[in-house]
């Protein structure tokens, strides 16, 4: 049994760097709990296949796809997001998590990443393998839909 320490070091360094973004994307797709679980599964997969993943030009996109496919096997319903804590977030609509969960997946991912986690459009576009204009369109439509759903004007 051999162990390549340098391989582990490089993986760990990468994983620590990418973990938040990976978790955010999968949370956007599948909700808080399943998203985090999927991120862990995807990182485990990346660890096993690190020699392949490490050569990929879009590692995050690759591992995101892995986590997404893994989570889809478990996902049978709409994503579940953590409820709003009114003590900490008095200015957040209570129905916001539910409304976001009801968005179509692409809109949900874009809304969550762009507005929730402050990703740039370029980052989201690269993750989803699409154009920035498409991401922008998702964002506009998603926000419009959220506003309708929540009945808010702002």
């Amino acid at each position: 049994v051999l162990l390549n320490e340098s391989l582990i070091d490089s993986f760990t360094e990468w994983a620590e760097l990418v973990e938040p973004k990976l978790r955010h994307t999968l949370t956007a797709s599948f909700g808080s709990q399943l998203g985090k679980d999927a991120a862990a599964d995807a990182l485990a997969h990346a660890w096993v296949h690190w020699d392949v993943v490490s050569t990929n030009d879009n590692r995050l996109g690759y591992v995101y796809a892995v986590g997404r496919n893994m989570a889809r096997r478990s996902a049978r319903r709409r994503p579940v997001f953590l409820p709003v804590d009114h003590q900490r977030l008095p200015d957040v609509e209570p129905g916001l998590p539910d409304a976001i969960a009801c968005l179509p997946e692409r809109q949900r991912v874009v809304i969550t990443l762009v507005y929730g986690y402050q990703w740039t459009l370029s980052e989201v576009a690269m993750l989803l393998g699409t154009e920035k204009s498409t991401v922008q369109s998702h964002a506009e439509r998603g926000l419009a839909r959220l506003r309708r759903s929540l009945g808010v004007e702002l």
Partner: protein, 810 residues
């Protein structure tokens, strides 16, 4: 809640992120190793041949492709033995196996299937093949045994896979979950119709299927179908209902999956075919064309039908009535007719259709300018403007946002500048700085204080950095902030530094044009624009605006009918109880009787309730529900009382002034109310919203207090379906649309619901990963009912593709 939605999203996910916590990477690695990591020496250069379905082998092969790597990982699951590198189960790659070979296997699959040769079909599969099935909302993995039963069931009922179109050139199997070896497997994608016993007997459209076959030299390794819409449930629902009524003891036996053996599956298929034939014999023949209708007369005086798409925030299209009524499909509602108006999805990808003096215009996402006279037939025209077209819009019209009838100018936005026209013929250059559009990045509309919509703030992301630009009426542009790198800009946006337009000093009443320095200032300041106003909640044909302006000691509360430009009522004087807070929120308007209306504002820092009698506006003692957090109350008006439902309670009042809390520990969490014929109230509710489990349900009440499900509710394919919208037509019909269901349910009393099959074009699109689409809403305007939805084309944004119009028979 009076916080911009984007800020709410940011705050919520920031908080949720802390609650969620990071993945424990050490635990992940520990789990992998404890689960069976075996490190083996794979230092050789040549990779071993691989097979797709063994993901540990994929990892091994991939590891070996890197010559310098001296160690790789092989993982087995749950104690499986880890093979060594020379595992004899590996199949050598076959260089002679080509895409043409794979297509030939696929063809053979269909030939044998249609010939009823189950054994022959199964013989095409590799030993470890996998079988999976998905439709819009669910998925299933089949065991080989279940797959065989499926084949027997299909064959026994005479199913034919027809009109198939397979990919012209098969592609190497793309990596999805695990890396695969591209030279040993080929993915063949075929689309076809599943013409089963029910679709054959009922002369229904075959069920559209997209089947992906991953084929290797050892046969079909992966069988993955995606069932389109209408799916099996949708196509056969009417038939299923007939069986349930006439052969209730067979209702289960005829359905898919109601078997445990091959013999049972075969018997189930044969039974299904027999019952389908009996059912078809009961169907009435298709209605013949109405001989009383003079088609020529319609052609001479076509008229125009206007359709407003509420799901697109008011995008309006018009269609010649004769076209609408001359191409009809049978409907299950009496003698009513349905017509599908096809709208090119690409037209809407760029931000919506803009009505012009001569018709309609739109700029596609590829910069192409299209014009139309009727919003149905479109023609491409050469752009008269330099640069790439971004979009055409009406002044004041926000892309996919609200439209304002007072807008009088058209804007043609290009990368070279902004052009303005009042007639869509003569154009003048009005600005050399375009809005931030597709080439640049996020453009954010901010509603300003001086006009109905004035201030446009955009952050422009460029390769060199980002800048913030500002314009009134989107014409004269000023650069406000120029930063290298967009991190700073985003931080500024997050802080609210650029939100708003004017500030209001509560002490002096002075309005100062300025950008807000921080979010806190924004929250406590008061503007005289939209942030100072509450609107009646949509949908509504009339927009009501409640605005508050003035100083602490000199307030004016104004109630206006924006749509008709009328002042409905006002209150002046000192109203210290309201304070100088921003009163933005939602305005609910309820007609209590012929002379009295209740207007309740909530969602801002404080709620308030007003009574409007004639032109007299009266501020009443705030009801107990106005100060509750959360969304606005839902009102139910009965003959002599009004009920206010909230998430945490319910109240009733006879006059809008005094309120009595209703007894009861639980009230339905109501999403949407609708008052139907006879005062019957129908509500879509989620009884388990707190857990976010299950789907929506319908509730019905005749008194606003006692609620019960309808005696014949819509039959939905799964409990995971969520409602979209309720609407009503003047005829008294209620309509209900559910997401993922391309159909409309209708009822005249809210108690008995029947499904109306909407003739929506079926198209899976090239990318079924996100499902074919969603129904976004159903809305009604007189005799016109519109069902709009999103359909994914797999390449770009979801696009709205269907408009279903119900036209009263002539």
């Amino acid at each position: 809640v009076n916080t911009p939605l984007t800020d709410q999203i940011r705050d919520y996910f920031g908080d949720a992120d802390r609650e969620q916590g990071a993945v424990d990477l050490a635990a992940v690695l520990r789990g992998v190793e404890e689960g069976g990591v075996v490190l083996v020496d794979v230092s050789r250069v040549d990779p071993p041949p691989v097979r797709r379905r063994s993901w540990w082998v994929g990892g091994l092969a991939a590891a070996a492709t890197v010559a310098v790597v001296v160690a790789g990982l092989v993982v087995t699951r749950n104690g499986d033995e880890a093979p060594d590198a020379a595992d004899t189960t590996l199949t050598p790659s076959d260089p002679s196996f080509t895409a043409e070979d794979a297509l030939a296997v696929a063809d053979e699959y269909f030939e044998r299937y249609n010939a009823g040769d189950v054994a022959g079909v199964l013989g095409l599969f590799a030993a470890e093949a996998t079988y999976s099935s998905r439709w819009c909302c669910d998925s299933a993995e089949y065991t080989p045994e279940l797959f065989e039963m499926l084949l027997e069931w299909d064959v026994a009922q005479g199913t034919q896979l027809i009109e198939r179109v397979c990919s012209d050139s098969a592609q190497p199997a793309a990596p999805d979950t695990e890396p695969v070896s591209a030279d040993t497997e080929v993915a063949v994608v075929c689309e076809y119709g599943n013409d089963n016993a029910v679709t054959q007997a009922g002369r229904l459209d075959p069920v559209p299927i997209r089947l992906t076959l991953v084929i290797g030299s050892d046969g079909i390794d992966e069988w993955s179908e995606f069932i389109g819409t209408p799916d099996y449930v949708a196509c056969c629902e009417v038939f299923g209902g007939w069986v349930g009524r006439n052969h209730p003891d067979e209702a289960v036996a005829i359905e898919f999956g109601a078997w445990t053996t091959v013999d049972e599956a075969r018997a189930g298929g044969e039974l299904r075919a027999r019952r389908a034939a009996e059912w078809a014999a009961t169907l009435e023949p298709s209605a013949e064309a109405d001989p009383t209708v003079d088609e020529s007369e319609s052609a001479e005086a076509p008229g125009v039908t206007t359709i407003e798409l509420s799901s697109l925030d008011g995008v309006v299209v018009e269609a010649p009535t004769d076209l609408v009524t001359s191409e009809v499909s049978p409907s299950s509602i009496g003698d009513l007719q349905w017509t599908a108006i096809s709208v090119d999805p690409a037209l809407l990808a760029a931000g919506g259709i803009v009505p012009t003096p001569a018709g309609f215009a739109v700029v596609r996402s590829d910069g192409q300018l299209l014009l139309s006279d009727d919003a149905i037939e479109w023609r491409s025209v050469v752009s008269p403007f330099p640069g790439r077209l971004n979009e055409v819009r009406v002044s004041g019209q926000i892309p996919l946002g609200p439209q304002h009838p007072q807008a009088a100018e058209f804007l043609m936005d290009t990368t070279e500048g902004l052009w303005v026209s009042s007639d869509f013929v003569t154009w003048n250059l009005s600005g050399t700085s375009s809005r931030a559009s597709a080439p640049h990045g996020l453009a954010e509309w901010i509603t300003g204080p001086e006009f109905l919509e004035t201030t446009f703030v955009s952050d422009v992301e460029t390769p060199d950095g980002a800048q913030l630009v500002h314009a009134d009426w989107s014409i004269d542009w000023d650069t406000l902030v120029l930063q290298v790198g967009d991190e700073t800009l985003r931080q500024r946006l997050a802080d609210g530094a650029v939100l708003g337009g004017n500030s209001w000093d509560a002490e002096t009443g002075i309005v100062t044009p300025a950008l807000y320095a921080s979010y806190e200032d924004f929250d406590t300041a008061m503007t005289l624009g939209d942030h100072n106003q509450a609107y009646e909640r949509p949908p509504s044909g009339v927009q009501i605006r409640l605005s508050i302006s003035g100083t602490v000691d000199d307030w004016v509360i104004l109630l206006e009918d924006v749509t008709h430009g009328e002042t409905l009522g006002s209150i002046t004087g000192s109203l210290p109880a309201l304070g100088p807070e921003d009163p933005a929120g939602r305005l609910s308007r309820v007609t209590l009787d012929d002379t009295l209306e209740l207007l309740a504002r909530s969602g801002g820092r404080l709620g308030a309730a007003f009574l409007l009698s004639g032109d007299r506006l009266e501020l009443v003692q705030p009801p107990p529900w106005v100060s509750l957090p959360g969304s606005a109350p839902k009102f139910v008006v009965t003959d002599d009382e009004v009920y206010a439902y909230y998430d945490s309670g319910a109240w009733r009042s006879a006059d809008g002034r005094t309120w009595q809390a209703l007894d009861g520990d639980e009230f339905p969490t109501i999403h949407q109310f609708f008052t139907g014929p006879g005062g019957v109230v129908v509500a879509a509710a989620d009884p388990t919203a707190a857990e976010l489990q299950g789907g929506s349900v319908l509730l019905r009440s005749e008194d606003g207090i006692n609620w019960a499900p309808p005696s014949q509710p819509p039959v939905l394919p799964s409990d995971q379906i969520w409602f979209s919208h309720l609407a009503a037509a003047e005829s008294g019909f209620l309509y209900l649309a559910y997401e993922t269901e391309f159909a409309v349910w209708t009822s005249t009393d809210g108690d008995i619901w029947e499904r109306v099959d909407a003739p929506i074009p079926v198209d899976l699109g090239p990318d079924p990963r996100f499902g074919p689409g969603l129904a976004m809403g159903v809305t009604s305007s007189g005799t016109v009912v519109v069902l709009a939805g999103e359909r994914y084309d797999g390449r770009a944004a979801p696009t709205t593709a269907w408009i279903i119009e119900r036209v009263a028979s002539r």
